[in-house]
C-alpha cells in the first residue's frame, strides 16, 4: 500500500476506484449532472462518468458557474466520491466544499503521477492523506 501527504481542499473521507485524467475539467457546460459524465467535445473523458469514482485531474477550468454544477452532482448523487488535483483552484475548491465532496491537492513528490485509473484509492482529506489500497 502506498501513502502520500496532500493538502486538504475540502474535508471528508472517500474511497473508490480511481479515474485519472491528464487534462483540466471544466464543469460549467462540460458535464451532464444526471449521469456524472463529461460532455465537453473531444475531452479525453468525453462520455465517461465520474459517479462514485475518485476523480484525479490536474485542476479545474472555465467559469465560476462550475462550482454550482459540482454542487448539483452532489445533490443528485452523481458526484465523484473524492477529488484529487495536482493544484486546485477556486472553482473546484468552492464546488467541493458546497457539495461536501472530499478533495485534496499537491500530493507530495511524484505522488500525483503514481495513481492510475483502476487503482483502489482512499482519500482522507481531513488529515491530508491519500492511500493507494490496491493496484489494478
Amino acid at each position: 500500500m502506498k501513502r502520500f501527504q496532500a493538502r486538504c481542499i475540502s474535508k471528508g473521507h472517500g474511497t473508490g476506484v480511481a479515474l485519472v485524467c491528464g487534462s483540466p475539467i471544466g464543469f460549467n457546460f462540460g458535464v451532464d449532472v444526471q449521469t456524472g459524465a463529461i460532455t465537453e467535445h473531444k475531452h479525453e473523458l468525453e462520455g465517461i462518468s465520474f459517479k462514485g469514482r475518485v476523480l484525479v485531474f490536474p485542476h479545474g477550468k472555465g467559469s465560476t458557474g462550475g462550482s454550482y454544477v459540482i454542487y448539483q452532482t452532489a445533490r443528485i448523487g452523481t458526484a465523484p466520491v473524492a477529488i484529487i488535483n495536482r493544484a486546485s483552484e477556486a472553482i473546484i475548491a468552492c464546488g467541493a466544499i458546497m457539495g461536501g465532496i472530499p478533495a485534496v491537492d499537491l500530493p507530495e513528490g511524484d505522488a500525483y503521477d503514481q495513481i492510475r485509473t483502476g487503482d483502489l484509492v482512499e482519500v482522507d482529506a481531513d488529515n491530508g492523506i491519500v492511500r493507494i489500497l490496491e493496484r489494478k
Binding site: I9, S10, G65, V69, Q72, C94, D105
Partner: protein, 405 residues
C-alpha cells in the same frame, strides 16, 4: 493560514452552517493562494447570480443557505440578474420564476438588490487602498485601476463567502508587491468613444492574459470610457488591474507603475485598434435585429447621448433596441424625460438585466449590434448571436435602419 478566534468559531460551526461553509471556502482559497491570514473587508459584491450561472442547483443551494440563517455582515451588493423586475419583457416563464427565486434567496441573506455591475456609479464606492471582495470582472478592474482600491478576481461563491464572514484571504492584489505593471503599451493614436477604448482593451487583454499592463498616452478618457476599457480587458484576458500613466492613482509615472523593473514596451496604434474591432466582429451580413447598449450598465450621460441620437426617429420595426441600466439611473432617466424619448422611439430601457446574462435570444433575435466590448466578446457563446461592433452612433443608426452602416 492563521485564523483568529472569531474565524475559528465560524469554521467550527458555532455561528451556523452557512458561516461554516463560507469560512471553509475562504480557508481553502487562502491555502491555495498562499495567504498567511484573512483580512477584514468593508464590502462585497456577489456575481454569477444569473440563472445561466447558478442553474437550478445553485438556486436550491442559495435557498438552503438562506433557510439555514445565512446573513451577510457587510454591505453586499448584487450583480446583474436575468429578469427585469419592473416589467415583463416576454422572457420564458420557467426562466423568470427560477431567476426570481435566486434573487429572493440572496435578498433574504441581506444582499442589496441593486442588481447591477456598476454599484460604484450609485454610492457603493470603495476608496483608495481599501480592501474589498467584489466579483464581476469589469468592476474588479475598475476598482483596482481607476480607484486604487484592492480586490481579487473573486468568483461567485467566494464573494458570497466574504459577505457572510466579513473577511477575505490576504493574497494577490491586496498586497503592494503584486500591484506593479509588467508590460508597457505606448499609444501613438488618439482614441474616441467607448468602442475605441473597448477595441484597445480587447487587443491588449488578449495579449497580456493575467499580467498587469501599463498604458502611456491613454489620452483623456471619460469615466464611461474607463469602465468600458476595464470590461474589455477583463473579458478578453484575465486582467484584474491596469495602470495608465498620469490617469490612474498608482501610476503618476512609469517607474512607480512598474516598481522600477525593466518591462518590454509595445507600441500600439491604429492597426492594433483595428484588430480589436475585428476580434469583436463576428457577423458577415449587414442585417441587424437586435441593438443592445449598456454592458457595463449605462451611466446617465450615456443615456442622454442615446436620446440625442434618437430624437425624432423611430427604431425599425424588425429591430429590438435594449438599453441596459440599473434602478437608480433608470429613475433619473425618467425624471429628466430620457426614458420617454427612448420608449417613444420604440426602444426599451431595462433595469437589473443585461444581454449575456439574460436570454433575449428567446425572443427570436440573433443579429446583434453593440458598442460594448464585453457583450461583443461573449454574445456568440452565451446567446448564439452574431455581432457587429462599433460606436454608439453606428449602433443607433443600425437600430433605426435595421442595417449595419
Amino acid at each position: 493560514m492563521i485564523l483568529n478566534v472569531d474565524q475559528k468559531r465560524m469554521l467550527e460551526g458555532e455561528l451556523g452552517e452557512p458561516a461554516q461553509v463560507a469560512m471553509e471556502m475562504l480557508d481553502s482559497l487562502g491555502t491555495i493562494f498562499g495567504a498567511e491570514r484573512l483580512i477584514p473587508v468593508k464590502s462585497a459584491h456577489c456575481a454569477g447570480l444569473s440563472l445561466k450561472s447558478h442553474g437550478e442547483a445553485g438556486m436550491l443551494w442559495a435557498e438552503e443557505m438562506a433557510d439555514k440563517g445565512g446573513r451577510v455582515v457587510i454591505p453586499t451588493t448584487m450583480n446583474v440578474v436575468g429578469v427585469d423586475r419592473s416589467r415583463d419583457l416576454g422572457l420564458p416563464e420557467g426562466w423568470s420564476v427560477n431567476q426570481l427565486r435566486i434573487e429572493k434567496a440572496y435578498e433574504r441573506m441581506g444582499c442589496i438588490g441593486t442588481s447591477s455591475c456598476v454599484p460604484y456609479y450609485f454610492g457603493f464606492l470603495p476608496h483608495f487602498g481599501e480592501s474589498v471582495a467584489w466579483a464581476e470582472s469589469s468592476a474588479v478592474v475598475f476598482l483596482n485601476s481607476v480607484i486604487g482600491a484592492r480586490d481579487n478576481r473573486e468568483g461567485g461563491p467566494s464573494a458570497w463567502a466574504s459577505g457572510i464572514t466579513g473577511y477575505t484571504p490576504e493574497y494577490g492584489l491586496h498586497l503592494d508587491e503584486n500591484r506593479k505593471g509588467s508590460m508597457i503599451f505606448r499609444l501613438d493614436t488618439k482614441l474616441s468613444g467607448i468602442a475605441d477604448y473597448g477595441a484597445l482593451g480587447n487587443y491588449v487583454g488578449k495579449k497580456v492574459a493575467t499580467e498587469i499592463p501599463v498604458f502611456e498616452n491613454l489620452g483623456n478618457p471619460t469615466i464611461e470610457e474607463l469602465v468600458a476599457f476595464s470590461a474589455a480587458l477583463a473579458s478578453a484576458g484575465g486582467v484584474a488591474m491596469f495602470h495608465a500613466v498620469g490617469i490612474t492613482p498608482e501610476a503618476p509615472d512609469i517607474k512607480t507603475a512598474t516598481g522600477g523593473k525593466a518591462c518590454e514596451v509595445f507600441p500600439v496604434g491604429k492597426a492594433e485598434i483595428e484588430q480589436g474591432y475585428t476580434n469583436l466582429t463576428s457577423s458577415e451580413e449587414d442585417k441587424i435585429d437586435y441593438v443592445a447598449i449598456g454592458c457595463p450598465h449605462c451611466s446617465l450621460n450615456q443615456i442622454e447621448e442615446i436620446t440625442r441620437l434618437l430624437q425624432g426617429r423611430k427604431v425599425a420595426e424588425n429591430v429590438k433596441l435594449w438599453v441596459h441600466t440599473n434602478i437608480p439611473i433608470k429613475r433619473l432617466a425618467s425624471e429628466f424625460g430620457y426614458l420617454q424619448v427612448i420608449e417613444n422611439a420604440g426602444g426599451v430601457l431595462t433595469q437589473d438585466i443585461c444581454t449575456i446574462l439574460g436570454c433575449p435570444e428567446a425572443l427570436g433575435v440573433s443579429r446583434l449590434a453593440t458598442n460594448s466590448p464585453k457583450m461583443a466578446f461573449y454574445a456568440p457563446g452565451s446567446n448564439g448571436m452574431t455581432v457587429r461592433y462599433g460606436s454608439t452612433e453606428d449602433c443607433i443608426e443600425a437600430a433605426v435602419s435595421g442595417r449595419w452602416r
